[in-house]
Subunit: 419 residues, 2 copies
């Protein structure tokens, strides 16, 4: 338990002002608070973040992967560093809190440390990771992926809908693609641990009346592309009993995905996001449907058996209608466990501060997934109103954010003191 | 029964050559035999049809609506005319027979009459109707619709996906939009009857071993646009029991549409053609789904009750999942009865020629739907192999086509003699 908790009290008005100022830097032609990676508002927002980092006394640099990095020097520059942060990009039509609370909260912790005159033993490294949200190249967590050494040449060759490669977009944004694949100063540092403050993006904390979530693990994701091939016939002349309707087979699959999710253990979910008719015409029996779905859970065993069971259900329903189906699965993320010692520190500090907390898994992916490959990882969740996220209605009360920042500060101080 | 049947024997090789030549005039960049209305191949194909009409001794003109019209003068120019024909446009990725058989068959009938030295009492009017298939303006049967006086100013103001108006497309194709709405020489003619030769586009004749279908009625079509509004949530964090998933509600509706069709009387069908996620993203619970479906039957009473029952099923399934749904129905075509006297003539002539025939309803829409508003209407179907249509595999045996042309010739001769 850290003795300094009482002294590091976040300044509510300062956090509120930061949230409002950053929210104003956005793409005006899109719904909500839209600030997509590589957009001009994203570039401007990072200039704003750089200025806030400098105001807080951080030494600011970009690493080779385009992450914005502010360092608050500790007493022992050679000691393994503490890292905290998140991201400031948003989805299209997104909100003002996802990722942003973690970056602004980390900067506030640095300010509190400096104002209190308290210097940590270790360097405190605050990171605004490059492009965490999914993008036109269908690759999320660009910056943390690179930092963990998981960005590949093939990733940089990915093309968006216009044929533009991701690597070219890096270059246009001032990031040398080769450097993004390489190992630079930040990646060569020894690291003590990584803690990310983030909004929950789900309704569990609110429903349980908890102010803080101590993340136990981050869900693995199994993504499915199911391609249904039936037969295109005239929709007015082909009798019902003589059809091979790909959309009907896909509809059965959508319901099978839902059943799979409903049968999952706590926080397991399954979602069909799209059943696109590739050659839709009003008077043609659907021939070719592409269904996209995903399953998430922190239980690797369940993911495996559920995947097999779902595949069987989809194939059986399609065969009953004479429809061929091919299933392409991708394991997008494996289940990632949070560091047990860091979970314990967060829980202890929350208890000491009298903050009600719950141990919860994370259904969403975060930069922490990739950081966990590199160093011990922990996450602190604050509640999302109504569980809404990735939409303009996304909201977290200022009081909850202050709780989260207070706990992040206490956690960093506590981890600093541990060997 | 017409005494002249034996003398009007279609020339098999000539029909085969015409089919092959016309099939070669197509859009090279698309699958199958694609010749969409207003395309350059469509313009060239109609020049080819004009030449074939002139070769057959027809006086060729275009009417105000862009229909290609060839007249074989009869002995009594003032007598109500006989009209036959169909269309030469295709759907994208379509076949070589839909519509085409009716136009080439009509030209062959004119050739046979002229070669036999037999002049009808009435003018024989052969029409290649403008754009029968659905197009980017979602309006089918352009030419027959105009000829029946059913084309409206609002129709010409319809826009395609690029914002281009249908009226402008008429003008670019050399058709004065005002003339298409007006009444010209052809529309002022008294008409004795209209008979259209067409491929069945379904499997019924083949399954029953019949060479000819005598069409009893053309199905009415009820089209549905169902808009499902749920709630966009993070697909990884929103628990299954707390979702309002629009795609799941739409999947239930797809299955309800299928059930409705399976419960229909003979030749009633129901088809969901699309369940489009307007803002699809892999990690978002679907919020807005647009489902398009249609029901067809020649039983108006069933269409009405089935529509109510289906609406109830869709709404109940959506409500059970907290999803709002709005249903927009359009009666695209009302049920159209074929003329009983013309049906009788076709059946008698088939019997006299020893051709096995069946009375069948038409599930597909045809130019005949609109012609029926103007004059007594009949249709002759020839079998479609495997019932396939609107696809490259669409096929009708040459022998079946010859049967159809022979019967069309006999029917026109018989009708010519009737008061």
């Amino acid at each position: 338990m850290t003795q300094g908790i009482a002294r590091l009290e976040p300044v509510r008005e300062r956090i509120s002002r930061d949230l409002h100022e950053l929210a104003e830097i956005r793409e005006p032609d899109h719904l909500g608070w839209t600030r997509r990676v590589f957009s001009e508002p994203y570039r401007l927002a990072r200039e704003w973040v750089t200025a806030r980092m400098r105001d807080a006394g951080l030494e600011v640099r970009r690493d080779g992967a385009g992450n914005l990095v502010g360092v608050l020097p500790g007493r022992s520059p050679a000691a393994p560093a503490l890292i905290t942060g998140s991201h400031t990009d948003t989805v299209q039509g997104g909100g003002r809190f996802d990722g942003i609370v973690g970056v602004l909260g980390a900067i506030e912790v640095a300010r509190l440390l400096r104002e209190s005159g308290r210097q940590l033993d270790r360097d405190l490294v605050v990171v605004d990771f490059l492009g965490e949200e999914s993008n036109d190249w269908r690759l999320s967590c660009l910056g943390s992926r690179a930092l963990a050494g998981e960005l590949t040449r093939a990733d940089l060759d990915r093309q968006d809908g216009t044929g533009a490669a991701l690597g070219g977009q890096f270059a246009a944004f001032g990031i040398d693609p080769s450097a993004a694949l390489g190992e630079d100063w930040l990646r060569r540092r020894p690291v003590h641990g990584y803690v990310e403050l983030h909004v929950e993006q789900g309704p569990v904390l609110e429903q349980r009346g908890a102010a803080i979530g101590v993340v136990t693990a981050i869900a693995g994701i199994e993504r499915l592309l199911a391609t249904f091939r039936g037969q295109a016939d005239h929709a007015g002349t082909r009798p019902m009993g003589d059809r091979r309707d790909a959309l009907v087979a896909a509809a059965e699959a959508v319901l099978a995905v839902e059943r799979t999710g409903c049968g999952a253990p706590v926080h397991g979910v399954a979602t069909a996001s799209e059943a696109a008719n590739v050659r839709a015409a009003p008077n043609v029996v659907p021939e070719l449907i592409e269904l996209r779905a995903e399953m998430r859970s922190v239980d690797t065993g369940w993911l495996g058996t559920a995947r097999e069971r779902l595949a069987g259900d989809i194939i059986a329903a399609a065969q009953a209608r004479g429809v061929d189906v091919s299933l392409d699965w991708i394991t997008d993320n494996e289940v990632v466990q949070a560091s047990k010692p860091i979970q314990d520190v967060i829980a202890e500090e929350a208890g000491a501060a009298g903050i009600a907390w719950e141990a919860v898994p994370s259904g969403a992916t975060h930069d922490a997934v990739h950081m966990a490959r590199w160093c011990p990882m922990g996450m602190i969740f604050v509640p999302s109103k109504g569980g809404r996220s990735h939409c303009p209605e996304e909201a977290t009360g200022l009081g909850d954010i202050v709780h989260g920042v207070r706990l992040l500060a206490a956690t960093m101080c506590s981890l600093d003191a541990r060997p």
